[in-house]
Symmetry: C2
Subunit: 160 residues, 2 copies
């Protein structure tokens, strides 16, 4: 067997990494879908709840950007989430045209229970994992998250 050059080896590692990452993502998307189903929500709703948890209260407009929905779509989604008690609109002190979406933390705790099984498994997995390696992974993720995501236009191709 011919020995690999360092760069070939590194390319192979990168390819494996991408592959494992894609598997991971596919699994997460399916899991989210299942949880959403259980809660009577849509993947889009789940995504919004996650975003609000991660980034804190934000305007419907920003939520539209972060979910890829139109602002009209966000309006009806918020009506839905508000009616079901997941979130509420509060006036934005900085701009009276605007509104801030806040989560209902009690309700979110209930949502969290649906992630309980996977959280437990993940918790045990991580607790048993070598600290040094976890730190390496954290660094990796943090850096990858800081990559400015790319020049994708938010809108559809127009036919000319």
């Amino acid at each position: 067997m011919p020995r690999q050059s360092n760069s070939a080896k590194s390319a192979a590692t990168a390819a494996t990494l991408v592959h494992q990452l894609r598997h991971f993502i596919a699994g997460v998307i399916l899991y989210n879908q299942r949880v959403a189903d259980q809660l009577g929500l849509h993947p889009t709703d789940m995504q919004s709840l996650h975003l609000l948890e991660l980034l804190g209260p934000m305007t419907p407009g920003r939520l539209a950007e972060c979910t890829g929905l139109t602002t009209g779509g966000v309006t009806v989604m918020l009506d839905r989430l508000e009616k079901a008690g997941y979130a509420r609109r509060e006036r934005n002190p900085d701009d009276r045209r605007s509104v801030l979406v806040h989560l209902n933390t009690a309700k979110m705790a209930r949502v969290g229970e649906y992630y309980g099984a996977i959280n437990d498994q993940l918790g045990r997995f991580l607790a048993a994992y070598p600290q040094r390696e976890l730190e390496t992974v954290v660094r990796f993720l943090t850096r990858i998250n800081s990559i400015r995501t790319p020049p994708i236009k938010a809108s559809k191709e127009k036919k000319p």
Copy 2:
């Protein structure tokens, strides 16, 4: 500042990791949504294309399991994908009730172009990354992917 115990430190690392992971996932979901938009597809369609790429040809039934759709939903999605030339149904040699969904690789290459920008960035990022650390990350992802995902029922809560 009080010094942290090792287990406290490890718990903190785990929490950071989960947080970064959630950010990563939210970003990926948004990106997928954007690409789907561009292609005139739905997130569900994208997910199916990804699954078929990752796992190879499979039956509509398995696709239903992996996407969380009903089999009827898969049927119409496949009609859609087939009409648009992304995939085709071929008879399953092992079971004549059944069918295998194959991707159109030429068309998938075109889909890949929409991931071009991010792939380039990711490629450069990974090429510049220390090989040892990438290997650590690959190991991490591989193990996390092998965790048998959890006891979530595929169906909605019934009201009793």
